[in-house]
Amino acid sequence: MANDNISADMVSGSEFPFLVVKYNVSGVPHTVVNEEHGIAGALPEKDFAEEIVKAIGA
């Protein structure tokens, strides 16, 4: 909502195990950014936002 460029899915790992395998998810929460970058664990929201920016190299 903060930026129209961003979309966010919640994905239940148990219902979509093939995605857990595809993205190599080994623990939750685990965030996949643009299909290629992984952010493991939960972070304070500002840190999380910074990790997203870092991941996409903006």
């Binding site: 909502m1 903060a2 961003i6 919640m10 994905v11 996949v32 500002k46 920016v53 903006a58």
Partner: protein, 141 residues
């Protein structure tokens, strides 16, 4: 049987009074509903009944395949939280357990047309100028 307990239902009705603008929940399921789709639909029907500002639109993943494609929905059960536009908020799987809190919070945020984020976080996010697709994996609780 109600999925939301009576005590919680009353509390949620109170919380949802802060919703100012209409919120549309769109759910994609299929004709022969899987167990998870049934559970999701049952839950969403109860959620939509909590506020007159919240509506639920049911869609069929096969019959409405083009709509699903346009909305980027590639698996079911899929739950979308829309306001006057699509904010890109999706839940894949049953939004139950801890995710139920996230579902309600997202409905409130869309209902207020404002994300519940710190100003500092918004500043960081505002710098993003290309499409970002986040997929947050969770385990059901």
């Amino acid at each position: 049987m109600a999925l939301i307990k009576e005590k919680d239902r009353e509390k949620l009705i109170g919380i949802m009074k802060i919703i100012e603008e209409d919120v549309k929940i769109v759910m994609f399921t299929q004709e022969n509903e899987c167990q998870q789709c049934q559970a999701t639909r049952g839950l969403l029907e109860e959620v939509a009944a909590l506020s007159e500002k919240v509506s639920l639109e049911m869609r069929d993943f096969e019959a409405d395949a083009e709509m699903a494609k346009n909305l980027g929905v590639d698996k079911i059960p899929a739950t979308l939280i829309l306001g006057e536009k699509d904010y890109g908020i999706r839940f894949y799987g049953v939004p139950a357990g801890y995710e139920f809190n996230v579902l309600i919070q997202d409905i409130l945020d869309v209902g207020k047309r404002s994300p519940g984020l710190d100003e500092k976080t918004k500043e960081v996010l505002a710098t993003i100028q290309k499409p970002v697709h986040l997929q947050v994996f969770i385990s059901p609780t």
